[in-house]
């Protein structure tokens, strides 16, 4: 039997398949090249495996929760670890609303910054300013949180929120007790954090718009601003991509929001009220989760976060790439 098997697989075949692989790995026939390629391909494969492992691990550990709650996990409002009732709606609401507040503030701000840096500021001024704006992105989330608790939240409580309540108090958005800790503060801190990201991508997008567009507009007698509008229209998909990229960042931002949003799982129309986000409930409760189903529910929140940011980032990158591919060929690292 053994001899027969051996006979079916003559050593010649083995060596020829080895040669085949060596050829594939190294068209030049150099042994060093083959090893080098195998190593580099191995590292690249590792990246693919890591992303795959992330999806598998998150899905596997959320399985108990998915089985038990099904779709009602997303639509359920109750979050009660003691009764083992888990519904994520309050966290989804808090995440969406705080991210939207962040975008409402940071999109015009970022556009203004990017336009100023690309279209108006002289090069000698634009470079140091770009560095300063990007330093905002270098400040860690936990530092924003610390500053948010002790500086921003009191400032909003004393000056901004009472004013909003006085002028726009007829809107349900600006009613209720003013504490300085809540959705609005979370949104404002997120706005500060995503502004450097959005403005830096918009800057790349605007810089990629060909100068002929500007020259044509100016030659037709357009003012400085009308020329800028032409540039903005040209870069529109990329700008949309930048905004979506900022949205992705805001959705996943954890520490700063956790520290100022109040961490109460409730759905309230008022922006002054405490709220809770997907990321912050994971940060707060993960180490306390003793019951398996509790932990599994938290992992499922992580899975939701993963999938949402995955889609959001993919869409954003395609949009930005459409505008910038002509000039750089390589995307941006943000």
């Amino acid at each position: 039997m053994n001899e027969q098997n051996g006979g079916q697989r003559p050593p010649l075949n083995v060596s020829s398949s080895l040669t085949h692989w060596r050829r594939r790995l190294s068209p030049t026939g150099n042994m060093g090249d083959a090893i080098f390629r195998a190593l580099i391909f191995g590292v690249a494969l590792l990246m693919v495996l890591i992303v795959g492992a992330m999806i598998v691990a998150l899905a596997a550990h959320s399985m108990p929760s998915i089985r038990r709650f099904g779709f009602s996990f997303i639509t359920g409002r109750g979050w009660d670890p003691i009764k083992e009732q888990f519904g994520a709606l309050a966290f989804i609401y808090g995440t969406i609303v705080s991210s939207l507040i962040a975008l409402v503030i940071s999109v015009p701000l970022s556009l203004g910054i990017a336009i100023f840096l690309v279209e108006q500021a002289p090069r000698s001024l634009a470079r140091p300013i770009t560095f300063l704006v990007e330093l905002l992105a270098a400040i860690p989330s936990v530092v924003y949180g610390l500053w948010g608790i002790f500086v921003l939240a009191p400032f909003l409580r004393v000056y901004v929120e009472p004013a909003l309540a006085r002028w726009f108090g007829w809107l349900p958005l600006f009613q209720g007790t003013i504490t300085g800790i809540g959705l609005l503060t979370g949104g404002v801190i997120l706005a500060i954090m995503v502004t450097p990201i959005i403005s830096s991508v918009v800057r790349d997008v605007l810089a990629a718009v060909p100068n002929t567009q500007r020259e044509a507009a100016l030659a037709l007698g357009a003012t400085k601003w009308e020329t800028t509008m032409v540039v903005l229209v040209n870069g529109a998909p990329g700008i949309a991509g930048a905004v979506i990229l900022g949205l992705g960042r805001a959705i996943g931002e954890t520490m700063a929001v956790t520290m100022v949003i109040g961490n109460r799982p409730q759905i309230s129309a008022s922006l002054f009220q405490p709220s809770y986000t997907l990321a912050s409930v994971i940060a707060n409760e993960f180490t306390e989760a003793t019951a398996d189903i509790y932990l599994s529910s938290l992992v499922e929140l992580g899975l939701i976060l993963f999938l949402v940011t995955f889609v959001v980032n993919a869409v954003a990158r395609v949009l930005v790439w459409r505008v910038t591919r002509r000039t750089s060929g390589v995307g941006m690292v943000v």
């Binding site: 840096l117 108006q120 860690p140 989330s141 996943g252 954890t254 994971i282 976060l305």
Partner: protein
Amino acid sequence: MRTLSRTDRSRRAVSALLTTLTALCTLLAISILAIILSYIAMRGVAAINFRFLIDSPRPVGEGGGIGNAIVGSAVLLLLSCIVGIPAGIGTGVYLSEFGGGYVGSIVRFLVDTLTGIPSIVTGVFVYAVVVLRMKHFSGLAGGIALALIMVPIVARTTEEMIRLVPHSLREGALALGAPQWRVTLGVVIPAAGSGIATGAMLAVARVSGETAPLLFTAFGSRFFPRNLNEPIASLTVQIYYYAISPYDEWHAQAWAATLVLMALILSINIAVRFLTRKKFG
């Protein structure tokens, strides 16, 4: 001289107004930066002293410091560099040298995806695959979590820097008869070296501020680290717990620890800026 019609005048006024507004947006962003940094400087300097830098935490009212957190952060960063920088450079080399085809764009997309994944999710992943398996929090798990965040940043800057290396260098080396691995390792990577190094530095700056992925991997500790197999303190987690505590003394310590952290991050960023000033716009 031609007199301006009414519409012309209003067009010019709108243009002037809106261009001024963009300058104000920029000014606002820079003022926020200045306000944040000056708060950190003021509150931090008021609370910091030498003992604070070398002591370990103590109960409220007894002082204590962040010595263990500084050492812990250093250990975590070192560990993440050992794992993350070679893996990142390897992936970057793959993307630039072999990543032209279909598979290359998939890898590039996945690397970009990794960049966009919220760091808290990375923490949950490492908890599931490392902490649950080891059955306890550890410095090792924390280092792995930070490395996972580092890899895509290093990979993409490496790719971009290698692409800036002129093709004539490669062709010259190949023409001299060097095999491809020697061309890449001996000519291309050294030529892109300073760019790759600054990319790695920026990645270090980025992960040194990470808190969320450490909360349930490295966890935190009140003692100096002895080995990688036990929970380990870090500056950021320490800042977090002090900031949300109800004690004024711990709040002051949070500001002082933030000053230390920001000194590290700002000096890396400023160093990178001076290193890259001449070569790249």
